[in-house]
Symmetry: C2
Subunit: 298 residues, 2 copies
């Protein structure tokens, strides 16, 4: 079966409850989704700097309606490959943006272009392994409208390194068709995305979309050996509480444990990890190994 | 050279500027340090519950004075092995303690005893791999006095899974002899230590202590392939800022980069990770691979 190409001609800058499909695909469709770089070509050299966060940023290709997806379903996106579609990425600092925005020793704005050479990025004198991830991916919301700069229960600007080839991300379907959109990829990014960006780059994403049954409130990522419950909130402490409650609820139900025992077990085996600390809401994840949790979607 | 045994007869419950050595060892001494479980035997069965955090908790064996260590030096503790010294660990919840202390669906207090059987812990129906780490380890402070429940720049209750066999932790020496103390080990613990404990257990720690030169403000952990800069603060956001500043300062100096370029490089390669979110101050770490940072102590 050949992959269906979803071009980056149609993009969104908001996730809301009412989104018009740019394309409609079948349940189980295999896609290649083109994505623009988050800054849309504004930074080609180190001299191209961003004096402010653009009003339209993190263009997300779509929306992609998936036939048969309806409210209460779960939309699965199996990420098979993320390929750079240009010869360079770029990290930037922007005034009033990023973890150390108040550190006067650091230039804001500044840009660092990172040429792609084979499987590596050149970052100054260093070769950094190419390890692409998706920054922004989500579905139509249940009610609120969020800019693509914001992560929330619908997905959005999750900036989570686990959104890489080989993993599957699941979203709660709020609206008919789901209305999937994705973009804002990184050629490389560390957990935290401290300066506010990874190496932002245009890409092609190979993925397969499926409609699943299940009970899900927020984005969930499946890796080879674990389930990662993502949560975004105003503070990291609150995001940790939300993600951990989701994780131990699933653990208790799946393993037929009391919630109290699930909580104590999780404290031994379920890591709290940082996705990003720089977006308007921060994102963390509670990661439960599959040896303790077979299927949180059941 | 035979290891010198440091028994758990002498313990401290505070790290302060004035600490009297329980034992004095040479630079380069190889030690076996006995540690009590953090709850000092109070929980032997699931029926033994803690209605409040004990006033004296996290007994740290020591202080161990290291000959030749003086203010401005760095004390290295190479952790070679952590062996359980009893047949069980225990996780507990305690009222007004832990990430989900306000969740009324969870019992506070509760205890879950975890028998040790070979290389595994029995946690209910599950076998959890034994993977011990040190919860509390530190040195005399520069001025303030902190209970062993508190993590800060001197170390203390860092609750960091990287404090495991094979890794080396470094502390700034504030007072003559350094005055090292350690305890509060876990048979297993996940990043975050969500319920407020790992599987608390008495242990024997094999380690080697060395006096190093270097410029260090806070605890630093060396693993096979990375340097982890630890920071503790009132909020996770503030702890992230402190740890990341330390990391990029070291990166800039070591690689002769501008601080701005070091910040953007770090955003691609240096992960922000959670150590614990439950102690009076929270602890995070900024982890820089050695391929980008040769030696932050130079």
């Amino acid at each position: 079966m050949s992959r269906e190409r979803v071009t980056d001609d149609a993009v969104v800058y908001e996730f809301g409850p009412e989104m018009d499909a740019a394309v409609t695909v079948t349940d189980g469709a295999t896609l290649t989704v083109e994505t623009r770089d988050s800054l849309e070509g504004a930074v080609r050299t180190d001299d191209d700097v961003m004096s402010e966060v653009p009003e339209e940023v993190n263009a997300a290709t779509g929306p992609i309606a998936v036939e048969g997806a309806g409210p209460g379903d779960v939309l699965g996106v199996a990420i098979e490959a993320i390929r750079p579609a240009e010869d360079r990425g770029r990290a930037v600092t922007i005034p009033e943006f990023g973890l150390l925005q108040d550190d006067e020793r650091i230039d804001h704005p500044a840009s660092l272009v990172t040429p792609v050479e084979g499987d590596t990025l050149s970052v100054g004198e260093f070769d950094v392994p190419l390890d692409p991830c998706i920054g922004t991916i989500g579905v139509a919301t249940a009610g609120d409208t969020h800019s693509t700069l914001v992560p929330h229960d619908h997905g959005g600007n999750l900036d989570t390194t686990l959104l890489r080839a080989g993993n599957t991300v699941y979203f709660p379907v709020n609206r008919p068709g789901g209305m999937l959109a994705m973009g804002d990829c990184k050629a490389a990014m560390a957990d935290g995305e401290a300066c506010g960006t990874g190496a932002e780059i245009a890409t092609e994403i190979d993925c397969t979309v499926t409609v699943e049954s299940g009970d899900l409130s927020r984005p969930l990522v499946e890796t080879d050996d674990s389930w990662a419950f993502l949560a975004s909130a105003e503070t990291m402490e609150e995001a940790c509480r939300i993600a951990y409650r989701d994780a131990i609820d699933a653990l208790a139900e799946d393993a037929d444990l009391s919630l109290t025992d699930a909580y104590m077990l999780a404290s031994l085996v379920a890591d709290l990890e940082i996705s990003q600390v720089v977006d308007p809401l921060v994102t963390v994840r509670a990661v439960v190994p599959k040896r303790y949790l077979t299927n949180p979607l059941d």
